[in-house]
Symmetry: C2
Subunit: 183 residues, 2 copies
């Protein structure tokens, strides 16, 4: 049914139960009252959240990482990113940490691009996306068991890769496409 | 550690175990051999996948839906989308079904924008994104327990909402930003 005001689409929470406790994911079953008065069970993957950063240098080159992703059993080209240490960690500080860990880069100029809910249908994950400029090299120090290939390429080439469907990581598609309207 | 060839970042699967069976999510624990020979456990939320569609009419208006999202306990503005009926369902047919169900619209002209891995760090969800043109009205028929508000707005206004951070659903940010380079 399609309604035209928000009251008519709100759900009211009746109960919430933790049904799975994992390594990085926790699954809650939530029972909500629907606008039609019926009860519906919703399944939610609870995630701590993350920050991600698109680093671009003075020559218009950006820095991406190639990383094996077990859930899809393939290597993806992505902007540097990482989970928050805790739900209330400062998201800009997390972005700065991940940029340094994964690329060895630090940046003097940070712009918050947007926040994105990656999968609001089944997860609460929110990623904060930043554009980092005025870069300088420091030392890369990825987690001991994190294996990355650093990739440097012109921004325009990366945008073309997004538009051709060759970059398929959501946060990376968003950051590059948004940046194309800002830089 | 940062390496410069893909062999040095590949992981080799050693075992896979289903540890949670949910309503729409299934959690697998995968043990992989890392490039350094160590074993690492990866947690994967297994999802059937989805299709989503950005419908735009001859006057440059697009059609979005406002929907309550339990995982984030708020209403989001999103492009019409829905889960596949099965992992091997035709993704274009699924997009056509969801467009009709959620907006009552059908389209004569379909363009595949891209596919996106929404959360490759913890889920295998892949969403196929389409641009739908040459629209005509049919009858909306959402799932009985699906409550939506249909929103019609100029494409340029939607793009500005993405750039201002007012549209925060990942698939919607991607579709609108990509379409801005194509239409």
């Amino acid at each position: 049914m399609i309604f035209q005001n928000d009251d008519s689409i709100m759900e009211k929470n009746l109960s919430r139960e933790r049904v799975f406790d994992g390594i990085i994911l926790h699954i809650d079953h939530v029972t909500n009252e629907l606008p039609n008065g019926k009860a519906a069970k919703r399944e939610i993957a609870v995630h701590v959240g993350a920050s991600a950063v698109l680093p671009i240098d003075g020559e218009g080159n950006i820095y991406l990482v190639r990383q094996f992703r077990a859930p899809i059993d393939q290597i993806l080209l992505e902007i540097p990113a990482g989970k928050l240490d805790s739900v209330d960690e400062d998201r800009l500080l997390a972005a700065k940490r991940e940029l340094k860990e994964e690329t060895g880069l630090e940046a003097e100029n940070w712009l918050h691009l947007t926040d994105t809910f990656t999968t609001p249908g089944f997860s609460n994950e929110r990623i904060s996306l930043y554009l980092a400029r005025e870069l300088h090299q420091s030392d890369a120090c990825p987690d001991e068991d994190e294996f990355l290939n650093l990739v440097k390429l012109p921004f325009k080439e990366a945008l073309d890769m997004v538009l051709r469907g060759e970059i398929r990581d959501a946060k990376t598609q968003i950051a590059i496409c948004m940046a194309s309207h800002l830089i």
